[in-house]
Every structure is written in structure tokens, then in C-alpha cells.
Subunit: 207 residues, 2 copies
């Protein structure tokens, strides 16, 4: 019995060690980017900051871009957990959407302060769509589609486009100075999801 | 007379040469970023791609980050010229705002395809606010303030916050697949600027 357990413990130790090295590399990269920006970020710098050898780092990541992508995935996965937790499943989709977008805006507001804007911007661009990014957009898209079916928001624009609009608009939270301003941004963003009035205001006033 | 003209011509030639080196460096940087991303971008790579010596490049820019910032300024200045040209001064502020935001969204849509998403994201973040960026936001802020005074959009949120909302929301155009989708994004973004209805829809339906 003990003998049988040894390989399992050994594997767990190796896995824990690997996860620790990986996390150290990602933390190091985030710290370096906050200090100097993304430009000229090198594997040597990341290894030094993470306290691991350069050869070790290369066993985990082929290049600095791969470290960035892995950091990005870790961030979005953490954010998704928070967004999911913010939405009470007993509430209607529109209320869950409000809660999720408010949480997302708060994350943007705080992470722009802690990681610098440069990294945060990379979270929500088409060119960098990866699995985590897709999951985030899909999470918001589903809430929007459900709320539209409830008649609580506009039907004239595909839910996926509205999800992209929300996630981009709310990154503006990173430039805002106060929690009140973040709250106003969420209200303005949600207003964009409202069904348009029968007469378009701008057209009616000026055509 | 000829003798007097020589120094002026000479100066103009040097200025033209300097502008050409500068432009070559910025073009090289944009091409490199489109190929490999921002990460690990070095002065040596930029110099090689621009066809100038490394020592020459260092006479113009202290580091790769400075090349990025200069590129960014050049881009936004060009964009501002297009936004200003898009707005017919005879039209009311709201109509000029519509035209400017439509143009901005189109620029985002095209530049995401040509330069890759990574660079475009750097155009609109708080950490990278420079003079060009401030001018862009100020241009939109003024149109919004004027349109709000005309009674054509909401008064309950400061114009500067609404300008930030618009510019961020419209960067979603970089992820969109068609001109129609870009048009819908502009309509959704403008809807966020509408005065809220007397009764909040979400609240009324679910509270």
C-alpha cells in the first residue's frame, strides 16, 4: 500500500513543482511589464525575475510571447470565476448580465492600476483570441441572448456583437478615477443594449 | 542671393532626410509588430528592417518603446485629421459626432486587419495617454458636450467619461467581420449616449 502510494505522491510533488515554476514565470512577466512595458521583454529577464534558470524557463515556454499568452489565460480564467460567482442563478438573465458586467468593469478598473494598461489591453482583442478569451465572450453572449429572449434588450444586433461591444466598452474602466465613474460606465454600456426607440432621436431631430 | 539660399536648402534637405529616417523606423516597427507582436521587439530588428544603422536609429530614438510611442502619435494624428474631415461643420453636433464615430470605427476595423490587434489596442489606454491621444479624446468630448447642450444626448454622465466610453466601445470594430457589423456597433454605442428613459427598464421589470 505504501509502495503503491509513492509514485502518486511523487507525481503530485512534480506537478506542484511545475505549477510553482509556471506561476513564478507568469508573476515575473506581469511585474516586468508593469515596470518597463511589453516592448523588449526577454526570456532572460523573465527567468531572472522568476528566480529560475533560463534553461528551465525554456522547458516551460518557447518564448516570451508564450509566457504572455499563458498569463493572459490565467487572468481570464480567474476573471471568469468571479463573473460567474457574481451572477445569482435565481435572477433573470438581465439582472445576471448587470452583475457580471459590473464585476468585469471593476476588474478592469483595478487591474489597470495594478498591472498597467498595456497588459490589460491585450485581454480583449480579436488577434489574441484564445480559449479563455472565447469563454469570457461566450459567457457574456449567452446572458445577452437569454435577456434578449426575455424581451429585456434589443433584438436587432447579434448577441455575439453585443458581447464584444460590452467587453470593449468596459475596458474604459481602466482609465476612470472613481468607483462612481465605473458605475456610470456600466449604466451607459447597458443603455446601448436597450431596444432602440421607434423613432431614432438623432435622425428625427436632424434629418 | 544664391549663396544665402544654400543654408536654407541644406537645412531643408537635412530635415527631409531626418523625416525619412524617422518614418522608415516607424514603418519598420509596425511591420515587425504585425509579424511577431510587441514582445521582444528590439532596436536592432527595427534598424535592420528600416534599412538604417543601429547607431543612426539611436540618434532618433532612445529605445524601442520610444519608437512605439512615436508611431502611436503619427497614427492618432492621421486619424484625427480624418475624423475632423468627416464632420461637416454646418451640421448639428450630434450629426458631426455620428460621422466622427463612424469614421473612427472604420479606422479601427481596417487598422486591426493591417497592423494586427496588438498595436491598435495601445491607442486607447490610460497608461499610454500622450498628446495625440488626449487630442483625440478631447475632440470627441467637445462634440459630446455640444450635443448634450443641444439636448440630443444624456446629461447625467460627464462628457469626458462618455468620450472614453465611445472610443473604447468602438475598438470592438477591430474584431468585427463586416462593414454592416461596424455600422451596428456605432448604432449600439450611440444608443448608450441616449438620455435614460424615465423608468429604468431593467429595474422596472425585475425589482
Amino acid at each position: 500500500m505504501y509502495a503503491r502510494d509513492v509514485p502518486k505522491l511523487w507525481t503530485e510533488t512534480i506537478d506542484a513543482h511545475r505549477a510553482a515554476v509556471r506561476d513564478a514565470a507568469l508573476d515575473a512577466m506581469a511585474a516586468l511589464v508593469a515596470e518597463q512595458g511589453l516592448v523588449s521583454l526577454t526570456m532572460s529577464q523573465i527567468a531572472e525575475k522568476a528566480g529560475v534558470g533560463r534553461a528551465t524557463l525554456y522547458k516551460y515556454f518557447p518564448d516570451a510571447q508564450a509566457v504572455l499568452t499563458a498569463w493572459h489565460e490565467r487572468q481570464i480564467t480567474a476573471h471568469l470565476d468571479r463573473l460567474t460567482a457574481a451572477a445569482d442563478p435565481a435572477e433573470p438573465a438581465f439582472v445576471r448580465l448587470q452583475a457580471a458586467l459590473q464585476t468585469f468593469a471593476q476588474i478592469q478598473h483595478h487591474s489597470a492600476r495594478h498591472h498597467g494598461g498595456e497588459l490589460a489591453t491585450l485581454l480583449h482583442r480579436g488577434e489574441h483570441v484564445d480559449r479563455a478569451q472565447q469563454r469570457l465572450r461566450e459567457f457574456v453572449r449567452k446572458l445577452i441572448a437569454e435577456a434578449a429572449e426575455d424581451g429585456d434588450l434589443r433584438h436587432d444586433v447579434p448577441a455575439d456583437e453585443l458581447a464584444g461591444y460590452c467587453l470593449h466598452a468596459l475596458t474604459a474602466a481602466g482609465t476612470l478615477g472613481s468607483p462612481d465613474a465605473v458605475h456610470r460606465l456600466v449604466a451607459v454600456t447597458l443603455a446601448g443594449l436597450n431596444a432602440p426607440a421607434p423613432l431614432d432621436r438623432g435622425g428625427a431631430a436632424h434629418d
